[in-house]
């Protein structure tokens, strides 16, 4: 187990090194951050541009820039934003909880819907419930998430007036308001995954129910419900867990479209804005944090998978 962990951490470091190096090259060599910083409408002299480049350390050799940045990053110092009067770490610290909250709530909702509706559809295969859920899940998969968001805002926000049209309250200011502001974004983001998990769980449960051990258990007198709960679902959830892990990892890049529609100050909009304004350290810091998150999450998932599926441990040990 220990050897396995060490190997995984080693892999993680290589991945992080590769990701940050590529980011560095793309932003500092290929891009022109100082020009993007000044933008349209502000005349600057070549001397001003040169002075700005020098003060931001962009004149130094690239290797030195990277090593300096990496060294600081290891101590948690992600530097200062080029364009904002803040440190990168504080920007990420205020954006990350928003995206994490949005992502987790959306996935939890999607899993709850997926497992319950999917199981029901599998158990009542061929019935009206099954057909309805197939239709609903197809719709959820097909509808573009920005369209759904705008419709929800229009109907629930404007016409019915049940929820605010836009706006975000930080969780530190008011938990109640924060959750209220998150309802529509979470619904919008989770729709696709709810549809996807419903179909996946349905097929997993169907496959589980056709296993020999299920028939044996029922022959022994164990009720359907108990068989489902204690055996079939447990086995079905393991592959689902892998899928969830991949989805969460993908969403940690920031559910950008949802964040833009609902004006949530999360990681997606932070990264997008940083790229467009030439705010190089924020781009680098955000990508590093996302990469770390994805890597850690994958490691955790692998360990969890090993725990749940005893046979898999043999492979790892």
């Amino acid at each position: 187990m220990l050897a396995y962990l060490v190997r995984r951490v080693g892999h993680a470091i290589i991945v992080l090194f590769g990701v940050t190096l590529v980011t560095f090259l793309l932003t500092r060599v290929v891009g022109n951050p100082v020009q993007l910083m000044f933008g349209q409408g502000t005349a600057v002299t070549p001397q001003q541009v040169a002075r700005t480049r020098a003060s931001l350390g962009l004149n130094k050799p690239l290797v030195l820039q990277y090593l300096t940045w990496a060294g600081h990053a290891l101590t948690g110092n992600l530097g200062r934003s080029f364009t904002e009067p803040r440190t990168v770490a504080s920007d990420i610290a205020s954006a990350a909880p928003v995206t994490i909250e949005l992502t987790i709530l959306a996935i939890v909702l999607a899993v709850l819907i997926g497992v319950s509706v999917g199981t029901l559809a599998a158990v009542r295969k061929g019935s009206a419930v099954d057909t309805a859920s197939a239709g609903a899940s197809s719709l959820a998969l097909a509808v573009p998430n920005f369209w759904l968001g705008l419709i929800l805002i229009y109907v629930i926000g404007l016409k019915l007036g049940w929820l605010p049209v836009s706006g975000f309250t930080p969780i530190t200011a008011s938990l109640g308001d924060n959750l209220r502001d998150m309802v529509l974004p979470v619904l919008t983001l989770s729709a696709f995954y709810a549809g996807s998990y419903t179909r996946y769980v349905r097929s997993l449960v169907l496959a589980g129910l056709s296993q020999d051990y299920v028939r044996a258990a029922e022959a022994k007198g164990i009720s359907r419900a108990r068989v489902l709960r204690h055996h079939v679902l447990r086995n079905a959830l393991i592959p689902l867990l892998t899928v969830i892990g991949l989805d969460v990892a993908g969403l940690m890049g920031g559910a950008v479209v949802t964040e833009v529609i609902f004006s949530l100050p999360g990681v997606g909009s932070l990264l997008e804005n940083a790229i467009l304004t030439g705010d190089v350290p924020t781009v680098e810091g955000t990508i590093l944090v996302i990469a770390v998150g994805v890597v850690v999450l994958n490691m955790v998932l692998d360990l969890l998978y090993g725990y749940l599926h005893p046979q898999a441990r043999v492979i790892y040990d």
Binding site: N32, Q35, L36, M37, F38, G39, Q40, G41, T42, A43, V44, T45, P46, Q47, Q48, V49, R51, T52, S55, R80, T83, E84, P85, R86, S90, D91, S94, A95, L150, I153, Y154, G157, L158, G161, P164, V165, S166, G167, F168, P170, V260, I261, F262, S263, P265, G266, S269, L270, N273, L276, T277, G278
Partner: protein, 545 residues
């Protein structure tokens, strides 16, 4: 028919007149509607301010003290330090937090700000500002001549390296304090645009004590002397301002609080206005106006503005260094089609880089290349081989106004015989790419400055970082410098006419359209006046009930 803020017509009548003018409404139907709405107005007129109030400057309602108002900013705020402020969205916030040394009215005439009066001496090389006495910053320190000197010295200091320095440096060379309410600015040469710059970001006065306290973080902890003090800022989210009780203009401001939000999608912003979650909205795309026009709790306000859209090309190298090709491109541009497609017909054809202000050509000026298919074809024929090659126009595919512009112009150019291909690019990096010279032929838009020197210098002075058409004419450079030294606008005007006669046809811009500046407020919001610089003056607003 451009609307001035002091129009005599109500919003309803204005909509009808527009529809009539565009041929979408027969005369009979117009008269029926007008009679109906007039009757409705008489009945509704008792006790409500909704309809009549909309297109007049300010409203008839009496200002109520108090209330919280929400506005969404046109783009993201990076910093609230005026010396480093490059984003348009930062300015409405800064207008609330800071005082400017001088201000301007809706016609760009310079009016008092922190400086009550001013005078020029020494052949125009010294500007003496007489400041409002007893002004305090939000942190209690004194906003006096020493504070003003400190602010201007900060811009002069090359170590600070403030981007806004280029607004006044050169020719500002030194600043001296005469007494606590009198400060003198010394210039290396007379320079009329100075006052306009002091009404812009060079003239916002920040608290020296606060900059010393917060250092590099000052931009996220702004302290000014303006009507609203900074309360909080969720990064990427809301900025909250609250009334500054010690504001030097007694009785103002009326509002208790202003919340500047960051709603990133325009249709969501319009919905938020309808749901009364925003009370003011600017930069409304013409396509979304229909929803608001029918809402009786919303007043739509349109002015002529000064924001023009154009195509641009590199005049320093082939193919567009050829004057006949420039002419063909200009004559072949179907400007009315752009107005219809991109701006729902609201606005006018653009003909020059100024469009508003004392140096702008008269309204009747038709532009250097008024749309004419026949003239386009003959200019193209004169261009010879240059005109027969494939030309690539780069359009921002992810920005509606820009992609509409390209789409509307393409057929006209093709009819004229230009062999065009259109390639897409990302809007956010387009300007930077134009600065790098990546594209020969593309599009742009600009808003007006208070002094004609402002934009003309940016666009046409040799080597200016904003001169993306690579236009260079030493005679124009010399004329610009000469004209900037003349304080008497009547005397300066002939020089600007001469400059324009060269830069308008050959400067590298094909002026296409100037849409109306459209904003909307909830009907119970008073004091709303649109300025042609398209910046919302939130601090002047109040609730009427």
């Amino acid at each position: 028919m451009p609307l001035s803020p002091k129009s005599e017509f109500s919003r309803e009548e204005t909509e009808l007149l527009y529809a009539l003018q565009r041929g979408k409404l027969s005369r009979r139907r117009f008269l029926t509607y007008a009679a109906g709405t007039s009757a409705a107005l008489v009945v509704a007129g008792c006790g409500t301010n909704t309809l009549r109030a909309s297109t007049t400057a300010g409203t008839a309602g009496k200002p109520k003290r108090g209330g919280s108002l929400s506005y969404t900013l046109p783009d993201q705020v990076e910093t609230l330090d005026p010396a480093f402020s490059t984003q348009f969205g930062e300015r409405p916030v800064m207008l609330c937090i800071y005082d400017r040394l001088v201000t301007y009215d809706t016609n760009f005439n310079i009016t008092p700000g922190l400086a009550q009066t001013w005078s020029f001496s020494d052949g125009g090389k010294t500007l003496t500002l007489h400041l409002q006495p007893n002004v305090k910053f939000h942190d209690g320190t004194s906003c006096d001549a020493n504070a003003v000197k400190w602010n201007l010295d900060r811009l002069l200091n090359p170590q600070v390296n403030a981007p806004m320095a280029s607004l006044i440096v050169p020719p500002l060379s030194a600043v001296t304090v005469v007494n606590s309410t009198t400060v003198q600015l010394h210039l290396s040469r007379p320079w009329r645009p100075l006052l306009a710059a002091l009404a812009d970001r060079a003239g916002y006065v920040v608290s020296p004590a606060a900059v010393q306290k917060y250092g590099k973080d000052y931009g996220s902890h702004p302290v000014g002397s303006g009507p609203f003090r900074f309360k909080s800022w969720v990064p990427g989210g809301n900025i909250t301002l609250e009334r500054f009780e010690g504001y030097w203009q007694k009785g103002k401001p009326y509002l208790d609080e202003i919340i500047c939000t960051n709603v990133m999608d325009s249709s969501v912003a319009v919905t938020a206005l309808e749901a009364n979650q925003l009370q003011v909205l600017t930069d409304i795309p013409a396509s979304l106006l229909q929803a608001l026009a029918n809402n009786e709790n919303v007043s739509v306000n349109k002015i002529r503005g000064g924001h023009w859209y154009a195509t641009q090309y590199d005049v320093n190298k082939p193919p567009f260094n050829d004057k006949n090709l420039m002419a063909a491109e200009g004559y072949g541009a179907d400007r009315k089609a752009v107005l219809e497609l991109a701006f729902s017909g609201l606005g006018e054809v653009a003909t020059n880089p100024l469009m508003v202000g004392w140096a702008a050509p008269k309204l009747s000026y038709p532009g250097p290349y008024p749309t004419s298919l026949s003239k386009a074809k003959s200019a193209l024929a004169k261009a010879g081989a240059v005109g027969h090659q494939r030309l690539t126009f780069t359009a921002a595919s992810d920005y509606t106004a820009y992609s509409d512009l390209a789409q509307a112009l393409q057929p006209g150019w093709k009819s004229a015989g230009l062999d065009i291909s259109i390639q897409g690019a990302a809007y956010a990096t387009l300007y930077s790419d134009l600065q790098s010279g990546k594209y020969d032929w593309s599009e742009t838009d600009w808003t007006p400055r208070a002094d004609p020197d402002g934009l003309l210098r940016l666009l046409f002075y040799t080597g200016n970082s904003q001169n993306t058409t690579r236009f260079s004419d030493p005679q124009v450079d010399h004329l610009l410098d000469q004209a900037a030294e003349i304080y008497d606008t009547k005397k300066a005007l002939p020089l600007y006419e001469q400059i324009l006669s060269i830069v308008i046809p050959y400067g590298g811009y094909d002026y296409i359209a100037m849409p109306e500046q459209v904003a909307a407020t909830r009907s119970n919001v008073g004091g709303f006046v649109q300025y042609p610089d398209d910046l919302a003056r939130l601090a002047d607003l109040y609730y009427t009930d």
